[in-house]
Amino acid sequence: MSDYILEADNLTFSYDKTGAPSLDGLSLRVRRGSRTAVMGANGSGKSTFFLCCNGLLKPDGGRLLYDGVPLSYRKRDLLALREKVGIVFQDPDTQLFSASVYQEISFGPLNLGLSEEEASREVEAVIGRLGIGPFRHRPAHALSGGQKKQVALADILVMHPELLILDEPFAALDPGHARIIRDMIGKPDQEPGRVPAAILLATHDTDFALEWADEVILMKDGRALAQGPARKILTDRQLLAKAELALPSVIRIFESLRACGILGADLPAPGSFDQLEAYIRRAGGEA
């Protein structure tokens, strides 16, 4: 078993093979057991890269390794890869093919070769875990955007992927639904031994990434601008500006409090609002 569940080496890909490439020499590594945020402006190649990860797109050049083994594009190998790599697509309407929520979720487990009884047990479990019960008998076209997203996530979690990929899971969600999705990503599986070995998540939200991710990959123009620990990357003003991303607001407040002398100059950057609050409370107590 390789330390890195996924490695990309100098990947190139272009949709129309003549115009500007979508991936232009992308190299990155995703460690086993990591939570990695992939960040970058629209059109930086995040979604294209994800489609490459389970063989839906074949890179024009470069190497893509899953668990240390280069991807094979034979049909049998692709199916084996797709059993391990699950993608939750950004727009649930492109993912849901059945009007029935229950049938929709049952598609994956049956494709994995589970018997109908096993599949039904898995589907019921994920419906319970994701709180889909109250609207399970409604047709897909009568669900709200947030509910569709819940079903789209259930579609994939029910297959227990080894590498879970989420393409902008919070896009267009209200805070309530965003919290449901966040909680699920926080503890995607309660059964021991079935937790995804790594999660890859695309987002523009630097505050969320700072709190959730241990690794951050910045992408720009189909290339990885930087990869490293979240605290290091997400506190680097220049780097973020280059990737057209905003400095996390926690860090901005922290820096201005430090500049005013309210917080000590030796404090490490906070990883969340809670931690920043603790700093402030401590500073207030001392005064």
């Binding site: 489609l51 699950g86 697509f89 229950y102 494709n111 039904s120 076209h141 009568a142």
Partner: protein
């Protein structure tokens, strides 16, 4: 269509076994059309209206309004059967029309009455199914009846896409309205053309994206999903069998009277 879809998902009979509902609907229609018995047709009509309105919870006014649509066609159709153009007046009614008579017979009158009743009873049988059973449930029954796999899969996708495209068309239409795209005939024609072509492109794109997403979940060429059937209940089956038997008896008893 959207209205019927919503009604069947919220129907009080939604969780009755779909096979039972299909059987009741189908055999009632077959008996109505097969026997042409006015008494049996009336019984079917009343029973279906009762089930839809009382058990299913369809508002009575709405149910009647839905029935009016096919009634218009049925009336137009029977008018042609009822009214003759002939040189001699018949026994029921006759209007002089130059050298001819616009006329009808008593038998024809009775016959068209029976025809209307049979047709409306059949419609009510179909409405019972449409107003209580979602398409995905009917699909389950068809699959159990060994409908070719490819047809079942196509129906599944078509039904989902119908709503996706409808949603997109509605959104595009609204956005065209917001930009005065439909202010007069000229702009309307142009806007409709644009909408149709955009819808086509969107449908192709959406189809490709859906295929990708299905492939990502190990799709291998056949769509397997779990059947989602509510269990059949002995009491309901007995009720349906009893009702169908009653229809046969009714048709047999009234066969001489011409009803």
């Amino acid at each position: 269509m959207l209205l019927i879809d919503r009604l069947c998902y919220t129907s009080g009979l939604r969780h009755m076994n779909a096979g039972e509902k299909c059987a009741l609907s189908l055999f009632s229609i077959v008996l109505c059309v097969g026997t042409r018995s006015a008494a049996a047709a009336a019984a079917v009509f009343l029973a279906m209206a009762f089930l839809c309105i009382k058990k299913g919870g369809v508002p009575a006014g709405l149910y009647l309004r839905l029935l009016l649509i096919p009634l218009a066609f049925v009336l137009l159709g029977t008018a042609a059967v009822l009214v003759n153009l002939s040189r001699t007046p018949l026994d029921a009614f006759a209007l002089p029309l130059g050298p001819l008579w616009l006329t009808g017979s008593r038998e024809g009158l009775l016959g068209s009455g029976r025809l209307i009743l049979t047709a409306m009873a059949s419609v009510s049988g179909l409405y019972f199914l449409a107003l209580t059973t979602p398409v995905t449930d009917i699909l389950g029954v068809l699959r159990a009846c060994r409908l070719p796999r490819i047809l079942a899969e196509l129906m599944l996708l078509v039904y989902r896409f119908l709503f996706l495209l409808l949603e997109q068309a509605a959104a595009m239409l609204r956005s065209q309205d917001a930009r005065l795209g439909n202010r007069d005939l000229r702009t309307s024609l142009r806007s409709w053309g644009l909408l149709a072509s955009m819808l086509f492109i969107r449908a192709m794109k959406q189809g490709n994206a859906l295929y990708d997403a299905m492939e990502a979940r190990c799709y291998d060429g056949s769509i397997r999903v779990l059947p989602e059937a509510d269990p059949p209940r002995l009491r309901e089956i007995a009720g349906i069998a009893g009702f169908l038997f009653l229809l046969l008896v009714l048709a047999f008893l009234t066969r001489k009277s011409g009803l």
